[in-house]
């Protein structure tokens, strides 16, 4: 219990002392996670919409696999990305291992199925509402997908936030592909793991509270910008 109280106090001290190292870690955490969320949303949302409006052979199987991939073990993803980016791997020549880019790649792989799957469910419901109208208006498949993405944007925001939630708290994959290198690839989660290993529980907890606060602030900011959860929108 003392550790938790001490952790909270340390968190406040860290933040209000404007610790440069801490802000560097926070900034990198945000940079890596938000980049991954944007890329995964650009891939996942059209994929979800496409799956919702198209009928093809093995569609159910594709959706089942996509849903299953939501639970991809991050450590396995990290390992695969590591092998691909290591010097002997197919993309070794790019020299990306132990860089923030490698961490973004791993996170994109982890959260794209999650964003695509939630997007698919949201857009599938909207497509059921819109189906007859959009067919009647003689829309092309591209127009349908764009209309559905635009009109389901609030639900899609939830998909992105779910992706953000998973990515910001992820440690296994980015530890493997990032290496937790000080001033280069150290983010909040890997720093927490390191401090815990060193027995610095209060400091690790402080970082943990900062991480939770960061997740809440980003969620609030996005809700505020997108004007969701307001009575007039109900």
């Amino acid at each position: 219990m003392n550790d938790i109280v001490e952790g909270m106090l340390s968190a406040f001290r860290l933040i209000f002392s404007l610790d440069a190292d801490l802000f560097e870690i926070i900034l990198l955490s945000l940079q890596v996670t938000l980049t991954a969320v944007v890329i995964a949303s650009i891939i996942g949302m059209p994929m979800g919409a496409w799956l919702a409006v198209n009928r093809f052979r093995f569609r159910r199987l594709t959706i089942a696999i996509l849903n299953a991939l939501m639970g991809l073990p991050p450590v396995v993803v990290g390992l695969i990305v590591y092998i691909m980016l290591s010097r002997s791997g197919p993309f070794g020549v790019l020299n990306l291992l132990f860089t923030p880019t490698a961490m973004v790649i791993a996170q994109v792989i982890i959260i794209t199925p999650l964003i695509a799957s939630i997007s698919h469910q949201a857009i599938r419901d909207l497509w059921a509402d819109y189906h007859d109208l959009l067919i009647s208006l003689n829309t092309t498949k591209r127009q349908r997908i764009l209309t559905l993405i635009k009109d389901a944007r609030r639900s899609l925001l939830t998909a992105s936030l779910a992706g953000f939630g998973r990515a910001i708290g992820e440690v296994g994959a980015i530890m493997i592909v990032g290496g937790n290198i000080d001033h280069l690839t150290r983010v909040l989660t890997t720093a927490i793991a390191l401090e815990t290993g060193k027995g610095e529980f209060a400091f690790a907890l402080a970082l943990g509270f900062v991480l939770i606060a960061l997740a809440i602030i980003v969620n609030l900011a996005i809700h505020s910008i997108s004007k969701t959860e307001r009575a007039s929108n109900w």
Binding site: L133, L137, Q143, T147, N233
Partner: protein, 238 residues
């Protein structure tokens, strides 16, 4: 180049679902002008007939022969559903949507949409999310959206079902104006009064087949079939 898409000739068309006949055989010709009402008891296939003609259902057998090329046929018809399907956008954006699909620039589309908003007396709700409008307002908006692209042919599936007299009157006024402007209208209804007020012709449907096509005056005074007579008398048709 937009062709005249009518007349439409339907020959021996069937709509089937999982092997079960829903409507058919359907043989009918839609002339270039007029206001046709499709009447018949519940489950007679009125909605399916409209969906078949509009292309929302494919005929399992038989064929539909339009006058124009396929592109004109697709662009020159609109459909108003019994339960209005509103895009999750404001009222005015619902009207702008089909115009923008046709490549009309934003400023011109907005101007046209504003004219329609005034015409249907929704100026005060122009920027309200269309889902929050009343049933009558939604249906007026759906009709405005369907007419904004000036289609040659407009299908309406019981557009005034569940609406009160005042909303029905406003919608009928819109339809009469479209009729006068030369839009070909095909509409389903249960309301015999409405049929008498609006229709030039009647298609009477019973158990998935057309039992009678006639001028409205003739149909209401001298129905040619026993089923139509019973329907007009308000008898229960099985």
């Amino acid at each position: 180049m937009v062709d005249k898409i009518l007349p439409l000739n339907v020959k021996n068309a069937f709509v089937k679902k999982r092997g079960k006949r829903i409507i058919g055989p359907i043989d009918v010709q839609l002339s270039t002008k007029g206001f046709t009402m499709v009447m018949g008891p519940n489950g007679s296939g009125k909605t399916t007939l409209l969906r078949l003609l509009h292309g929302l259902e494919n005929p399992r057998e038989g064929k539909l022969k339009w006058n124009g090329n396929i592109e004109s046929v697709r662009l020159e018809q609109s459909f108003v559903f019994q339960t209005p399907i509103m895009l999750r956008r404001t009222a005015i954006e619902n009207i702008i949507y089909p115009l923008k699909l046709r490549g009309i620039p934003n400023d011109i589309a907005t101007k046209i949409a504003n004219e329609w908003i005034s015409k249907i007396n929704l100026e005060n709700s122009s920027n309200v999310n269309a889902r929050f409008l009343s049933g009558g307002e939604k249906q007026k908006l759906a009709i405005a959206r369907a007419l904004t692209t000036k289609p040659q042919l407009l299908f309406l599936d019981e557009p005034t079902a569940n609406l009160d007299g005042s909303a029905t009157k406003e919608i009928e006024k819109l339809l009469q104006e479209a009729h006068k402007a030369g839009t070909r209208l095909i509409m389903t209804t249960h309301d015999m009064g409405q049929g008498k007020r609006l229709a030039d012709d009647i298609i009477f449907l019973y158990r998935g087949t057309i039992h009678e096509t006639a001028k409205a005056i003739s149909f209401f005074k001298y129905p040619a079939t026993q089923e139509a007579q019973a329907f007009l008398n308000g008898d229960i048709l099985e």
